[in-house]
Assembly symmetry: D3
């Protein structure tokens, strides 16, 4: 049975990062089958679906936080994809990551920049903007 | 002698948080007089003054990062003021802070919310929006 | 309308920390009324209510994490209360906090110990074990 | 000369993770020969050998902390092995890691889950439970 | 019975921060009497007493780390005292803290500067350099 | 046009790590061409060039911070090179990294040690001390 929260979350994920969540689902289906559901339901169904902040701004907030925290490179790359899919330009992503040098230091910002570089290259190969 | 970078940075700070930087200047003038200058010049003169991201979005990025890092309550409060002065609504600040529950956990988001509450109260008393 | 998830979460909170969640509700009712609901529903309704790990062990896991992260003293104190209410002894809390010296350093463990000391004193005054 | 603390620590490591400490010893013997000794003596000889908390609970506390800190994947994998060797079930490890989504965010919990997945696969190949 | 490690550690603490450790001992004597012993024995008896790095440099390393981590203000203040007692000048402490803006961001460096300011004031009152 | 700050910063980088900054420049020239300039100008031109702390001590402070933060392995390796180029001995680097076990925990110190090991090996191959 699919909850309403799951449906609302999936709708957003289908816009910004349909592949990312499928990989998580596939990867964890045997050992933690509920985790994919929780990710769709709480972050996306409960939070991202709220009014008061558009998707593009939400992804900018997330890219900022993950660059600053600096301990979750795969998720940062995934959210840089989401940010671009939600309408951010590449230059905006670069600006947000660069700004993190001020709040989390240059090493965190540099590693964020390398994450963005990988994402941009991957998207170039797929012809995505 | 005032550098061009200082002037550009001061111009932005005058818009978003003129009191904050004065407090830092006053507080550190004897022991680290250059620190206030560095803060005006690098974060504001070099980074916030760049084109490609408007001030409001820059402050949203900073509020996200400081809430997620969770170890700098005074600076978070200061940037919530800046975000509101740069045109964010209170509801947008609340949304950004709430979203951090997903990326840095509920305690970090709760402490961010308490920081926002203090700032809102202070602004109510001063008749600021 | 109260969701099933809320009811399940509230039931657990009533056992381990009924006052903590009331304070959060009261404190955030004007600015972020949904946050208390999210805390009851996701952490408690979805996670703590799962089979496979008893409440006492869940609270030990949380006290460990919050001591190690070291940036959320109020929530650490709250979960030390919860741990004791869930059946941990004071000595077990002390052991868990001390062990964090190994994984997050002595300062984090010391600050965890001071949090525990405050909680123990408060409970002595209330005649709680 | 082997200290009493070293002997007590080694005894515990022989139960939960004899290979891990051998790798550290071999790897650091030339550049920091004392480090292996310090690891056996302080974390294991002084802390894990204390009464008041059983080994299984100690490893749950450590897995919680390392998942939440999120910056030490090799040591997290090593302690997931230790937790299973100390009597935790795989499902208990999964529950502890999942719970960290609440306190350190979903990215930290996801990376903890991937660490657990690697460990489970390695143990499947060796016929370990 | 006092171990040799305790004696070696206490000797160093008597030079750099005799009051700090007495406060910890007094504060934790009832709930975690072994913690003070562990602090004297491992950090000071085992680590600070090693040849290869003088005390002054060790305290600079510690002030750097605690400023960068940013979640342990009381211990940072304590180690700024130790650094000055070990022969660092106030200006050296200021330089180290300022440099952390590069590696952990401006908020962490600012909070480190405020910690130094408090320590300097306290020492002025006591006539310490 | 090259600023005076850039020239001062480049002079220091030429002493401690000329290759590191060239790699960053090359890597980011298309997506964030200003970042290399900011790194030369602020950390090196503004901070490292200040009197009051010699280069060797500055690099010890940086190695301490990056080991403790534990989320930027490439930058830590780069600064271990810089520390050795600025006159630190290998043994001093090992001592600083080991000491971080006290302040950031054993996993952070272990990962710092592995970073140092890689750097030492690379330098052995190049005949560097």
């Amino acid at each position: 049975m699919t909850s309403n929260r799951y449906r609302k979350g999936k709708e957003i994920l289908d816009k910004v990062n349909p592949e990312g969540i499928e990989k998580i689902k596939e990867s964890l289906k045997d050992m933690a089958p509920d985790m994919e559901r929780f990710i769709v339901e709480f972050p996306y169904g409960d939070i991202y679906s709220r009014p008061g902040l558009d998707l593009r701004t939400r992804e900018i907030a997330t890219v900022s936080a993950l660059t600053a925290l600096g301990n979750c490179a795969p998720q940062l790359r995934s959210h840089i994809h989401s940010a671009l899919n939600a309408g951010c330009t590449r230059q905006e992503v670069v600006e947000v990551v660069l700004q993190m040098a001020v709040y989390a230091g240059f090493p965190a910002a540099l590693n964020g920049m390398y994450a963005a570089k990988e994402v941009f290259k991957e998207r170039d190969e797929k012809g995505l903007r």
